[in-house]
């Protein structure tokens, strides 16, 4: 059974529609990339799945049960976390406080502690800088914190919106290798990126979204084919 199933999702803001029927599914432990040009609706798709933007039609199922129409705070509790675009860490709070916020949905103290230890193992910087104000971390460290903060909620599915935004290439490689580890631990991951190369090579399967629709599905093989990638990304004219 698919862990995340999106069917014919339509969404937008007010009278403006952004997504016109997007469908895909994600298997447990799988990684999915979503790429597309600016304004294609990638972020809206993430927000719609996480409950921040209301669906106009279609459905989202997590582990077989519907989550569409639920509030973001409830979606997290059901096992789906979104790392929003631009990281959105709380710069005025300490690193530890940011992580504590990630635990909001969890009741059990012991497993919470375990989750904290786990992400600190995965991202040592969070340990060494525990009492720093999060706003003082570097961009890459902030991204790690944002991912860790989502991870402590123990999500089955982790959505990441543009994790490479504003990061230096070496730092990006770092973040992606951490994501590999996270997937290996059993979390399914959806990554939205404008940089098609990066994700196509990384994810088991990559959707290209343009004008609010899925235009094509790529495999890591396609990443090598520059021309095909370009064409899929920008449309037939390119």
């Amino acid at each position: 059974m698919a862990i995340l199933e999106v069917k014919d999702l339509q969404a937008g803001y007010g009278k403006v529609d952004v997504l016109f029927g997007v469908s895909f599914s994600l298997e447990p432990g799988q990684s999915l990339g979503i790429v597309g040009p600016n304004g294609a609706g990638k972020s809206t798709l993430m927000k719609a799945i996480a409950g921040e933007v209301a669906l106009k039609s279609g459905s989202v199922h997590l582990q077989g049960s519907p989550i569409s129409g639920k509030k973001p705070e409830d979606v997290v509790r059901l096992g789906l976390s979104l790392v929003p675009e631009g990281r959105q860490i709380f710069g005025g709070l300490t690193v530890t406080e940011n992580l504590m916020l990630g635990l909001t949905g969890r009741r059990d103290k012991a497993s919470s502690k375990q989750a904290l230890d786990q992400v600190r193992g995965l991202f040592p910087v969070l340990n060494t800088h525990a009492e720093y104000q999060a706003g003082m971390l570097s961009g890459g460290q902030q991204q790690q914190l944002a991912i860790a903060r989502a991870l402590v909620a123990d999500p089955k599915v982790l959505l990441l919106d543009e994790p490479s935004l504003g990061l230096a290439p070496t730092v990006i490689m770092d973040v992606f290798s951490k994501l590999k580890e996270i997937i290996a631990l059993g979390t399914s991951v959806v990554i939205v990126e404008q940089r098609a190369h990066l994700v196509t090579a990384f994810a088991e399967k990559t959707l290209i979204i343009r004008a609010g629709k899925v235009q094509a599905t790529l495999t890591p093989e396609d990443a090598k084919d520059e021309v095909a990638l370009r064409r899929a990304y920008f449309g037939a004219g390119a």
Partner: protein, 289 residues
């Protein structure tokens, strides 16, 4: 000496009022004019239940104020979320007037009075100086509440959520912070703070009329804006400054004390022009609100 103690005690009272307002503003960008009516209702409750032991009477007042605060959230403010601060401000203005008129229908337009905690109006001598008991008790209560609030905000999960929501509610929700519950808690706490203010005021002035809480609320609002509305610390500080200055002006202006408000308002305008984000604001950022 008494003048300084008075100023500190009045400043503290204003700080409590400002804190209640700042708390609600932080989580939903609402300037709650109707906070005045929370103060008023708790004063009414204390007057009406004056025959009961003081503590019981105060707890009842807190309960009523907290419930009223939550009720206004559920019935009105919840439905206006996302319409923008101006709309919510006007709605709270309307609610404030509406509640005043309701009090008028329930309790009458004329003041209701009762001597709440009469022992506090006495005075005593210390080191050759005269002090009123009420100002000392007020300072003690204020310090206790400010410390408790400091603990709540800085050290508890609820406080962490409040701080996070005040900077970025959207992201807080993505992390699982339950919006309705958090906003409800903020309103409840603001109601309890209002009842503390109501208690302090009703001891000083046992004449409770429908506009009882209006004055302090308006001035506390002024306080949170000049202190910096984006942080609770700024709100409390701003409230304190306004109360302190007002008290000092009252003491030292002599016959011109009637113009104390004019000077205060003038100071407010000037402070806002120099620092639109408040005294504690770090940068001259474009306003979020």
């Amino acid at each position: 000496m008494q003048a300084i103690l008075d100023a500190i005690s009045l400043g503290g009272t204003y700080a409590l009022a400002a804190l209640g307002l700042g708390l609600v503003f932080g989580v939903m960008r609402l300037v709650n004019f109707a906070h005045a009516e929370l103060i008023t209702i708790s004063a009414y409750v204390m007057v009406v239940t004056n025959d009961l032991p003081l503590l019981i009477s105060f707890l009842l007042a807190s309960l009523v104020a907290a419930l009223l605060a939550i009720l206004t959230e559920l019935a009105i403010y919840r439905r206006l979320r996302g319409t923008g601060p101006a709309i919510m401000l006007i709605a709270s203005f309307g609610l404030s007037v509406g509640l005043q008129k309701s009090y008028e229908l329930i309790f009458g337009a004329l003041p209701r009075s009762a001597a709440v905690a009469p022992w506090m109006t006495g005075s005593f001598e210390f080191a050759g100086l005269n002090f009123t008991i009420s100002s000392l008790v007020t300072v003690a209560i204020t310090i206790a509440i400010l410390l408790a609030m400091g603990y709540l905000v800085e050290r508890t999960t609820l406080g962490l959520q409040l701080r996070a929501a005040a900077t970025d509610f959207k992201t807080a929700r993505l992390l699982g912070v339950r919006s309705n519950r958090l906003i409800g808690s903020a309103f409840a706490i603001s109601g309890i703070l209002a009842s503390a203010v109501g208690f302090i005021l009703v001891v000083e002035n046992p004449q409770v009329d429908p506009m009882f809480g209006l004055n302090i609320t308006i001035l506390a609002l002024v306080g949170i804006v000049i202190g910096g509305i984006s942080s609770l610390r700024g709100a409390a500080l701003g409230g304190f400054i306004v109360g302190f200055i007002l008290s000092i002006l009252n003491t030292f202006l002599g016959n011109a004390r009637v113009y104390a408000y004019s000077y205060l308002f003038l100071a407010v305008v000037i402070i806002l022009l120099v620092r639109p984000g408040g005294i504690l604001s770090k940068r001259n950022e474009m306003e979020r609100v």
